[in-house]
Amino acid sequence: MKNAITLLAALALGTAAFAQEAETPPPPSPKEVLDAAPADAWQVIAPDDLLVFQLAPTAVGSERRIVVQLMDAPWSQKWVRNMRKLAQGGWWDTNSSVYRIAPGFVAQWGDPNEDRAPMEGLEEVGRADLIHPLSEPVSLANPCEDRVFDNAFCDAYAPVAMFKGGWPVATDGTADWPLHCPGMVGVARDVDPATGRGDTLYTIIGHAPRRLDRNLAVVGRVVEGLDLLRTQPPGAGEVGFYAEGQDPLKIEWARVASDLELGARPHYKYLKTESDTFAQWQSALIQPNPFYSEPPTDYDICALTYPVREVAGE
């Protein structure tokens, strides 16, 4: 049992716990690659692209919040614009909460009141907006055959999956679309043809439910507070909705970070997919490691947490 936990941890965190035992310096771990990345390998996330959900404080008065990075163009932009409008109009400042925790699946938040009239002036969104058509069709190699670990993932749900502009997407050569990986944020909706406006949101807290891809809009990812959502008491109602007598986690207000005072804004950055560091990070994920008798040679795209880090504020 020596170092069992440390080593099981090491492979998760990429820490080279055994460095001193190696005869030659071991290759850098994924974490070390990211720690050493030059500043220009990171893209600072614009305050317009961060949505802050301020939650009721803890029992001992600690502040807590969920910060969502909004999806970049060309994906899901109508919903994203609606979400900015909803925040600017104070939609989530009233009667809003995290009212569904389904372990292994989703956490869901918004206004559970079915009688509230939707906010006016939101864009109508259609099924076609769930994907982004490519300007011209692309012919794709099959990454399931070459079995090389690069930024073309063998995927169970689409011909190819990849990171593009910092986001996990899949493509069939005619269109691409963002994926329901852990931490990604989607828009709850009624049955087809409804597509949701963006006022009721969920995030993935378990294994990626990729069957939802192209069925519900993916509009961003949680960059802060995901562990908080994953550790909320499960809903006792059907499929994880909070039951009578259970206190949902209250949302006090939500704002786009650019509408907050400078001192109150979150600051995050993500690794540029086209940077050298991204390629080095991928290589580090499959480096031989004394913990493994069968070192990993591949991952599915949602098994990787895309590198996003907090940056010191101004």
């Binding site: 206004d111 749900y157 059907e238 909705f241």
Partner: protein
């Protein structure tokens, strides 16, 4: 209106079964609900491990039920786990580590945690890394070569088979999700690290762990652990008592504060419990026609909520259905 319906619709695709019964639009859950009794397999009380945690802050009981894996997989560790449970080895120990989107871990502590190692009973078996996998029949090749992203029963292998980024194929064997390599000189199968699966903590190879330290997967399937650690079972009840625990703040997400460690009151084999305390559970036979239809429906959603169907699924998104049944 819209919000509640939106919520319920998203819910429906997870669990509920709205009334439609036409085959073309049946949801996976409707298929499972319609499965005949003969397709369900009762889990033997010898194969169920009942872990009772200390009650939560409000005094609610917390019980985690683990189904131990059957032959030919990981049986040395499973035997050890039964021995450890009968020795009451885990009684008074604790959940020591919870790492977000990864694992919850309990039992034997590690050096560096400031907790004394607890001696294990005599006579535990020792396994090698060859025991992480089991052999597969040569004739299987004719099926594995034809596997696609859509799970299908192919040739003489009785359970749905599909392609897999971590192996030559993935499939099911007597109720368990597995993957395999099927090549000229090596044909092996192994149980996979899906959400809820339970594995054995260990040190660096050649250590393989004795079963005294266990972990459950509480996040996206860490399939890179396959063939590197022993998978010995799955949580079939009470995963939320592990997945929703506060995350550890120490190195590697240990609980730095001992007060955060959830005490384990007892761990018992169900067969050793009084009849009235035994869980009664069944799994849907992965070799049944109902399961083949269920797997197909998981990969090809035709129920009304869905507007696009993937035509595929990963093995960990085809969880083997488990149900509680009344005691006989």
């Amino acid at each position: 209106m819209m919000l509640r319906q939106g919520a319920l619709a998203l819910a429906a695709l997870a669990l509920t079964a709205p009334g439609m019964a036409q085959d073309a639009v049946r949801s996976p859950d409707q298929i499972v609900a319609a499965a005949p009794a003969r397709d369900w397999v009762t889990i033997a009380p010898q194969d169920l491990l009942v872990m009772t945690l200390a009650p939560d802050a409000e005094g609610n009981p917390r019980k985690v039920v683990i189904q131990l894996i059957g032959a030919p997989f990981s049986q040395g560790w499973v035997d050890n786990i039964r021995t450890l449970a009968r020795d009451h080895y885990w009684d008074g120990m604790a959940i020591l580590r919870v790492q977000d989107n990864y694992v919850a871990q309990w039992g034997q502590p590690d050096p560096g945690m400031g907790i004394a190692e607890k001696p294990v009973p005599e006579g535990l078996k020792r396994m090698s890394d060859a025991d992480y996998t089991a052999g597969s029949p040569n004739w299987l090749t004719s099926s594995t070569l034809r596997a696609t992203k859509e799970p299908q029963v192919i040739g003489d292998w009785p359970a749905p088979m599909l392609t897999d980024p971590y192996g030559d194929y993935a499939t099911f064997r007597e109720g368990w999700p597995i993957a395999g390599i099927q090549q000229m000189h090596i044909a092996r199968q192994w149980p996979v690290h899906c959400y809820g699966m339970v594995g054995v903590g260990r040190g660096n190879p050649p250590d393989t762990g004795d079963g005294s330290q266990l972990y459950a997967v509480i996040g996206h399937a860490p399939r890179h652990l396959d063939r590197n650690l022993a998978v010995v079972g799955r949580v079939v009840e009470g995963i939320e008592h592990l997945s929703s625990l506060p995350r550890g703040k120490g190195p590697a997400s240990y609980y730095a504060d001992p007060a955060k460690r959830v005490p384990i009151l007892s761990v018992r084999i169900a067969a050793d419990l009084p009849e009235s305390e035994r869980p009664h559970l069944q799994y849907l036979s992965t070799e049944s026609e109902s399961f083949a239809r269920y797997a197909d429906a998981r990969a090809n959603r035709r129920d009304p909520f869905f507007v696009a169907s993937a035509g595929g699924a990963d093995i960990c998104n085809i969880p083997v259905p488990i149900r509680a049944v009344a005691a006989e």
